[in-house]
């Protein structure tokens, strides 16, 4: 809009208001200010326009009033400063958002691998970042005799956590042959993390291997949120407890390897603390409540179980996710 057009529009509005002092004119004023904002007109320009119009439509204004308006103009320059800075920060914010979107996509492609479907195991996975980027990580490897599964949680959220996660991913990919001994895998990763990560960052991890030939699930944990074992024979959920310190705490850490006999109908549920730290109106969710939700969906395919649990917990929290959320179900 051209300045002279704006000026005459403003003149008409102000004249109408002075004449009738009605709400309609004020409403027009409000709409006008929106338009000015859209066109990035800064506050001091609005005041200047006002001064010009006042001179035109009110004859013989007291000089003191005019002087006071000049003073106001001077004061508004500072607001103009802030306004323009806001504009430019907004542009920068948009650029940052675009960059983060790209980074998030890269991260997604790092994590997303094929989910194994062999050895009679039905696997379901859901992983949702609280912000755009996730500090949660999971990974599967399948070969002729086994399926290994890793789930890790970088303490912290957002970009720093996501960068740590990428490092874990790289370390996992370059693991030597003992990837079937969970305790050794964690000791080795502990070493990498201790040497490469900021001391204020910690990573918890659970690593397990299903040996299909022997029907054994062996696992170890580095301070990770305990999962569940559903024991089909006794129809009950048991805690998948394993002791071990978080990755990166000490230079040398040993991790005990635990073993479970697996029978058809059993389930293993792995999760990140974003699942158990769901906060509802009543406070933190009880682990038992999560087991209850799983139980109610138990006879569905694994992917449907995790999707259902996620949806239920989302609903309980009014659809606000406070922490990265990862849930894995293995049905044997």
């Amino acid at each position: 809009m051209d300045y002279t057009i704006k000026l005459s529009q403003y003149e008409r509005m102000l004249a109408q208001y002075i004449e009738q002092r009605d709400e309609r004119a004020l409403y027009k004023g409000q709409k006008f200010s929106r338009k000015m904002l859209e066109q990035h007109v800064s506050p001091e320009d609005v005041v200047s326009m006002h001064i010009e119009v006042v001179k035109r439509i009110i004859p013989h204004v007291d000089q003191k009033v005019m002087d006071s308006l000049e003073f106001l103009l001077e004061v508004m320059i500072g607001y103009g400063f802030a306004y323009r800075e806001h504009q430019s920060l907004r542009t920068r914010q948009e650029q940052l958002d675009a960059e983060i979107d790209i980074a998030a996509n890269i991260q997604k492609s790092l994590v997303e691998g094929e989910i194994p479907s062999g050895h009679g195991v039905d696997i379901g996975v859901i992983s949702k970042p609280a912000k755009k980027m996730s500090g949660d990580y999971y990974h599967f490897v399948q070969d002729d005799h086994s399926i290994s599964v890793a789930i890790a949680d970088v303490v912290g959220k957002g970009i720093p956590a996501a960068m740590c996660m990428s490092m874990i991913k790289y370390a996992m990919d370059s693991l030597p042959d003992y990837r079937k001994q969970p305790g050794d895998v964690l000791s080795s990763l502990n070493h990498v993390v201790e040497q490469n990560i900021d001391p204020s960052m910690f990573i918890t991890m659970f690593y397990g291997v299903y040996h299909a030939d022997e029907n054994i699930f062996s696992f170890a944990s580095a301070g990770h949120e305990p999962g569940f074992f559903y024991n089909h024979k006794y129809d009950r959920f048991e805690e998948l407890v394993a002791k071990g310190s978080v990755l990166g705490l000490r230079r040398h850490s040993n991790y005990t390897e635990y073993r479970l006999d697996i029978e058809p109908g059993d389930m293993i549920i792995l999760l990140s603390d974003g699942v158990t730290e769901c906060r509802t109106e009543k406070g933190f969710l009880e682990r038992g409540e999560i087991a209850d939700i799983i139980r109610s969906e138990m006879h569905s395919p694994a992917q449907r179980i995790v999707d259902q649990v996620y949806y239920n917990l989302e609903m309980l929290q009014d659809f606000v996710l406070r922490d990265d959320f990862t849930l894995i179900v293995l049905k044997f």
């Binding site: 001091e44 320009d45 200047s48 001064i51 000049e70 103009l73 001077e74 320059i77 500072g78 103009g80 400063f81 802030a82 306004y83 323009r84 800075e85 806001h86 430019s88 920060l89 920068r92």
Partner: protein, 135 residues
């Protein structure tokens, strides 16, 4: 032609900032700048002078009318032999300020003026030139 002489104000204390403002206002008015541009030019001068006062202790603000290809403009030069600015790119970023000011400072001055050039050497001092064209 309006005054071709340039005028300088030495900045040694806070009141000199007002002197510099006054000179800027006077020259910009004489040159025919509108009220809003007068206020903008004065604010730019104020920010530059305040930086001299705060960070370099002593310096000088020079204000002169210039003509370039028939275009008239007002040129502000800020000169000091203070500590200089280490990371110019950083201080030219929006949102960067040590005094907790609101969006003013050097990026603000740059936006208020049409041309803004800064040159600073550590321990040697800072030179800033800013021009506003008369429309």
């Amino acid at each position: 032609m309006i005054m071709e002489t340039r005028s300088s104000v030495p900045i040694n204390n806070e009141w000199d900032i007002v002197q510099a403002r006054q000179l800027g206002r006077q020259i910009s008015r004489e040159m025919g700048f509108g009220h809003v541009d007068q206020a903008r030019i004065t604010t730019a001068i104020s920010e530059l002078a305040r930086n001299i006062y705060l960070y370099a202790n002593n310096g000088e603000i020079t204000i002169e009318p210039i003509v370039n290809l028939g275009k008239k403009g007002l040129k502000i030069t800020s000169r000091d032999k203070g500590p200089g600015i280490k990371d110019i790119r950083l201080v030219m970023q929006d949102g960067y300020t040590t005094s907790g000011g609101l969006g003013a400072g050097l990026p603000g001055v740059k936006r208020l003026m049409d041309i803004f050039k800064i040159d600073s050497t550590l321990e040697k001092g800072t030179n800033i030139v800013a021009i506003k064209w008369l429309r």
